[in-house]
Amino acid sequence: MQIRFAGIGGQGVVLAGVILGEAAAIEGLNVVQTQDYSSASRGGHSIADVIISKEPIYDVMVTKADVLVALHQLGYDTVKDSLKEDGLLIIDTDLVKPDRDYIGAPFTRIAEETTGLALTVNMVALGYLVAKTGVVKKENVEKAIRRRVPKGTEEINLRAFNVGYEEGSK
């Protein structure tokens, strides 16, 4: 399965990809995670790709995405053509105005309301994605979050992830 996260720098798009990849690795699946970002650390587009498979993976990036998670219009516009026609588009409904069918929620607003921090938007979106697709087990994502987020921020990130997961389970 090819999953692509698209946003802007500072939204933690790459970290979301890394955590999803780590969860897949914990499950013993093959996984490749790559990223593409403009030179600007903040504000430029930011793309993270995750390819998960039981077979060996030879691709180095998403070619035809099964799922596109778009957190910002700039990221969406940059890569929207890579989503399969029958692919799943997940968006932050406040920040992205798509030109095709989608599902989603106001992830950034939910993040702010849950943790007081907009930058936990990546975890909210990740929770939503995992609930909607079941691509990896929830507990493995939680394990990966504990390993990958900065020390001391585990609980806040897990809270954001779980709120997103609940939103996606509705």
Partner: protein
């Protein structure tokens, strides 16, 4: 021995991180570097790990000093590594030649990015293949390895150290920006699962007096490292078996350089490694190395599904080059395709190997994106 990362299990890490962990497990205890995209993460990992394993990690003033420092460290007895990308690799060429001339085991990692000059710092390329082989001046021989997956980045780094130590030579590990930053599931073995080589040391005074001789007949002299009372003199000037400068006698130069070639070329069978996919009955061969090999494998699958008998030769060692295996392949296939992320480098080596026995076509791609499998497959079906 305690390691600063989990061993004996899989982890989900970047190519750069895999190189660093492999170096630590291979026994590397000296790292000198200079920050550069996309190799900085190797340095950052070494900076984190080295003090914990009683090794050294130091940021030098430039890449020239970085490779100089690791050569010094190697003569003091340490396994040593530096890592860089194109611009830094260019600066290292002078001392890469020094390491070849003085037969100093070191590992130099080049995570290739688009060039020339500063080029495309964050994008992958394979434009330094010829430079890795021929970049330093004068006649010389060294070993160049080229991984295509994060697991290979790990495995080949271990191998790079072993080959460097065994043959007293610099080994270049040629990765690229994609591999450097790509994360994959990698198995990090327990130390007792890995075979580790350390350079030959002199067994007696006689051997110690021939730091550039050939007392064992294999072309590889034992290395009398500093501080053991051997009083070894090491110079980049042409020198005799004892290390004494002999710059005006043609036969001394011939003897030295020939042995430096011979010690590697005589062990080609052990040094050269490659993998094949669906090549036994192939009529079309694709030959690739590094990151492009991933797309080439997929291209072979696509072509086979379409009834084209295609196969892949994936080169792990790109120098010394296995001209014989290419010629043998050229004799039994109709055509050879060489996809690479440059304007044609590996292609020239393959053509020399094919020796006119098969058509060789270059599939060049530059700009920072790896060929898609379809791009390769479509060129083959025409």
């Amino acid at each position: 021995m305690r390691y600063p990362f989990p061993v004996g299990k899989s982890d989900f890490i970047q190519g750069d991180e895999a190189v660093a962990r492999a170096a630590i497990l291979a026994g590397c205890r000296f790292y000198a570097g200079y920050p550069i995209t996309p190799a900085s993460e190797i340095f950052e990992a070494m900076a984190l790990y080295m003090p914990l394993v009683d090794g050294v990690s130091i940021q030098m003033e430039d890449e020239i000093a970085s490779i100089a420092a690791i050569i010094g460290a190697s003569w003091a007895g340490a396994k040593a590594m530096t890592a860089t990308s194109g611009p830094g690799f260019s600066l290292m060429q002078e001392n890469l030649g020094y390491a070849i001339m003085t037969e100093t085991p070191i590992v130099v990692v080049n995570m290739m990015r688009g060039g020339p000059s500063t080029g495309q710092p964050t994008f992958p390329a394979q434009g330094d293949i010829m430079q890795a082989i021929w970049g330093t001046h004068g006649d010389h021989m060294l070993i160049v390895l080229s991984p295509s997956t994060v697991q290979e980045a790990f495995d080949f780094t271990i191998r790079a150290f072993n080959l460097a130590e065994k043959y007293r030579t610099p080994v270049v590990l040629l990765g690229d920006a994609e591999l450097a930053h790509m994360r994959e599931r990698v198995y990090i073995p327990n130390p007792d699962e890995i075979e580790i080589t350390y350079r030959k040391l002199p067994r007696n005074e006689e051997e110690a007096k021939l730091p550039f001789g050939d007392p064992h007949g294999d072309g590889v002299p034992p290395m009398p490292i500093f501080g053991k009372g051997y009083r070894t003199y090491v110079t980049g000037l042409t020198h005799d078996e004892h290390g004494r400068p002999r710059t005006v006698e043609p036969e001394v130069h011939q003897r030295l350089i020939s042995r430096i070639f011979r010690k590697i070329l005589d062990h080609r069978d052990e040094i050269i490694s490659y993998e094949t996919f669906e090549l036994d009955d192939a009529e079309i061969a694709i030959i690739s190395t590094g990151i492009v090999s991933r797309s080439a494998i997929r291209a072979v699958k696509i072509l086979r599904e379409r009834g084209v008998k295609a196969g892949l030769l994936k080169l792990h060692t790109i120098w010394p080059f296995d001209f014989e295996v290419i010629e043998e392949l050229a004799e039994r296939v109709r055509k050879i395709y060489v996809p690479e992320m440059n304007m044609g480098q590996l292609y020239h080596l393959v053509r020399e190997g094919a020796n006119g026995k098969a058509d060789v076509e270059l599939i060049a791609k530059i700009g920072g994106e790896v060929h898609t499998p379809m791009e390769i497959a479509e060129r083959v079906v025409g």
